[in-house]
């Protein structure tokens, strides 16, 4: 089972130009709002017509602009979950779920609706109207409706963004369950980095209409191929970089020399580290290694319930040598328990940028 996509479409802000292949592993499509994610799904579903391209699902051609093939949405057998679910408001849950099954005899249709309701955990709600359902129930009913046609591919457009935070983890777990049972190409569009990571096995990072990265999610997060992808996957700390030796790099913006684990193949333009990979050394000299340890000063901080983000100035106190006092070199994220242990320590604190956590970004 495979979905091959290659589409180009001119949009007002940029040109969507994307090609990828999705197999049985759920593919997370990550990108900021307005990157063309939804448009890409709509092209695959047959709701938009790309200017150029080819889309094939298991060898079945859905679109081929060169051969003037454009299979209408109704014949594509591609299930789509819309961002706000688009449940038909004048039809009950059972009628919504059974909408795509009109070709079946009444009894068979009823059996199928029942089975789908059980599978998506909406049994007992079949007689209700969409407005009588909670957000999570609406999402599951819409999923049941999309699955009813036994689609050859499943497209989910921001499936969790319309839900309250406390509902998300539960609905997300059910989505994972559905994905595990589905075993056909499933595409999940989201702007939420963590959601993409948890639900997708493979990732496609989209930026202004082009594929910035694609591959196994662990790989993309560990070794982002570019500065853009590092940013899009949530990395906050970058410095311009210059190679000194095979394993040593000078971080120009941070004013320090760092050892890196990654062997330098191409000349590195930037070096980066994720906020939660920054280590605070509580007692200097412990463990021996002073490598990649840099003194730092606190500029400001911002709290969430369990974590704190610390904005740091490296090497000298804020405001020295004529800079903006608000100038920040690094932002680090730590659990509050840890922060409680060193918050009273006198400045400067010391951070360690572990060679394993640092990544180099080519030009």
């Amino acid at each position: 089972m495979a979905l091959e996509v290659q589409v180009a479409k001119k949009l007002p802000e940029f040109t969507l130009d994307v090609s990828f292949t999705a197999g049985e592993a759920p593919l997370g499509i990550l990108g900021p709002s307005g990157a063309g994610k939804t448009m890409l799904l709509r092209c695959i579903a047959g709701l938009e017509r790309p200017d150029r391209g080819r889309i094939a699902l298991d060898g079945r051609v859905l679109l081929d602009t060169e051969r003037r093939i454009h299979v209408p949405a109704r014949d594509r057998r591609v299930g789509m979950l819309f961002q706000n679910y688009a449940l038909f408001p004048h039809r009950t849950v059972a009628e919504n779920v059974g909408f795509g099954l009109r070709h079946l005899p009444r009894q068979e249709r009823a059996d199928r609706v029942e089975a789908l309701s059980a599978r998506t955990h909406i049994s007992g709600l079949e007689g209700r109207y969409p407005r009588e359902l909670s957000g999570g129930e609406q999402q599951r009913a819409a999923l049941a409706r999309a699955l009813a046609i036994e689609p050859e591919a499943l497209l989910l457009d921001e499936p969790l963004s319309a839900l309250d935070t406390h509902l998300r983890s539960q609905v997300e777990a059910q989505l994972q369950e559905t994905f595990a049972a589905y075993r056909k190409p499933a595409l999940l569009v989201t702007h939420n980095i963590e959601e993409a990571y948890r639900l997708g096995e493979r990732l496609l990072v989209l930026s202004r209409g082009h594929v910035a990265a694609s591959g196994a999610k662990e790989e993309i997060f560990r070794h982002p191929p570019s500065l853009e992808v590092a940013r899009l996957t949530g990395c906050k700390n970058f410095s311009r970089a210059r190679a000194i030796s095979e394993t040593m790099v000078e971080a120009l913006d941070w004013g320090c020399r760092l050892r890196v684990a990654q062997a330098l193949t191409k000349p590195a333009a930037h070096i980066g580290i994720r906020a939660h990979h920054i280590d605070f050394i509580e007692s200097r000299g412990a463990g021996g290694a002073d490598e990649n340890v840099i003194p730092c000063w606190l500029v400001r901080s911002s709290e969430t319930p369990f974590r704190i983000t610390l904005y740091l100035r490296l090497n000298r106190p804020p405001g020295e040598s004529g800079e903006q006092p608000s100038h920040v070199d690094l932002q680090a994220e730590v659990f509050k328990e840890k922060w409680e242990r060193f918050r009273e320590h006198p400045l400067p604190w010391h951070v360690r940028l572990s060679p394993d956590a640092l990544f180099l970004l080519p030009e």
């Binding site: 949405a73 408001p89 909408f99």
Partner: protein, 223 residues
């Protein structure tokens, strides 16, 4: 006193009901057609559809007379089939339908445009044909607006005078609707009869508007 001739009432009702059915189907079809189109051609068609609303009914009637008359393109065609439309009951229906069509078209279009197009798209991804998208999704969701348009069209058809007189004339028992009966009663100085028909017209119209008001106030909200 001579027995009252009730025929204008029945002719008016029959004409209005038939004309409303015609406009309902034609208006919906035109609105559904127009919804998917943009560009100058669609705008021009829009103008033609709305013309009967802005032209004086006598002008509409005269144009219809040219079209359906003995030497008109449609008249000639019908004559070959052995039918004459002018000064017959169908002429009252044609006149009323043409004049009330813009109201139906406008309200139906507004009602259809209000329906979130994602519902149509969802139906398409579920395998629905365009007809099913229209009949099972668009129409039920646009229904309150469509019904309001139907009532307005009926009211307009009931009040039609100018175009009807041009195309259908005043043939008692055949083409004489209530408005035409009133006009000729006044013309013949039969004030009593004119007032009676006026009252009947007022009662019917008020009932319709009250029904419309009641419907829009109490219709169940489905969204």
């Amino acid at each position: 006193m001579a027995p009252i001739d009730w025929s204008p009432l029945w002719i008016s009702l029959e004409t209005s009901v038939t004309a409303t059915l015609v406009t309902l189907v034609a208006g919906l079809a035109a609105a559904a057609w127009r919804e998917r189109r943009t560009g100058p051609a669609a705008a021009l068609v829009d103008g033609i559809f709305l013309l009967p609303l802005v032209l004086p009914p006598t002008v509409v009637g005269f144009l219809l007379l040219l079209l359906f008359g003995r030497h008109g393109p449609l008249g000639k065609l019908l004559l070959r089939l052995g039918a004459t439309v002018v000064f017959s009951w169908p002429a009252t229906v044609i006149a009323a339908a043409v004049v009330s069509f813009p109201l139906m078209y406008l309200t139906a279009r507004a009602a259809l445009e209000q329906v979130d197009s994602r519902f149509f798209e969802a139906a398409r991804t579920l395998g629905a044909s365009e007809w099913r998208v229209f009949s099972a999704i668009a129409l039920p969701l646009a229904w309150p607006g469509v019904l309001a348009g139907t009532i307005l069209s009926f009211a307009r058809a009931l009040g039609e005078f100018g175009a009807t007189l041009m195309l259908a004339g005043n043939i008692p028992g055949k083409t004489a609707t209530i408005p035409i009966a009133i006009y000729f009663a006044v013309e013949a100085d039969d004030v009593q009869r004119a007032v009676a028909w006026c009252l009947i017209d007022v009662v019917i119209s008020l009932a319709l508007l009250a029904g419309l008001y009641y419907w829009t106030r109490t219709r169940w909200v489905r969204r």
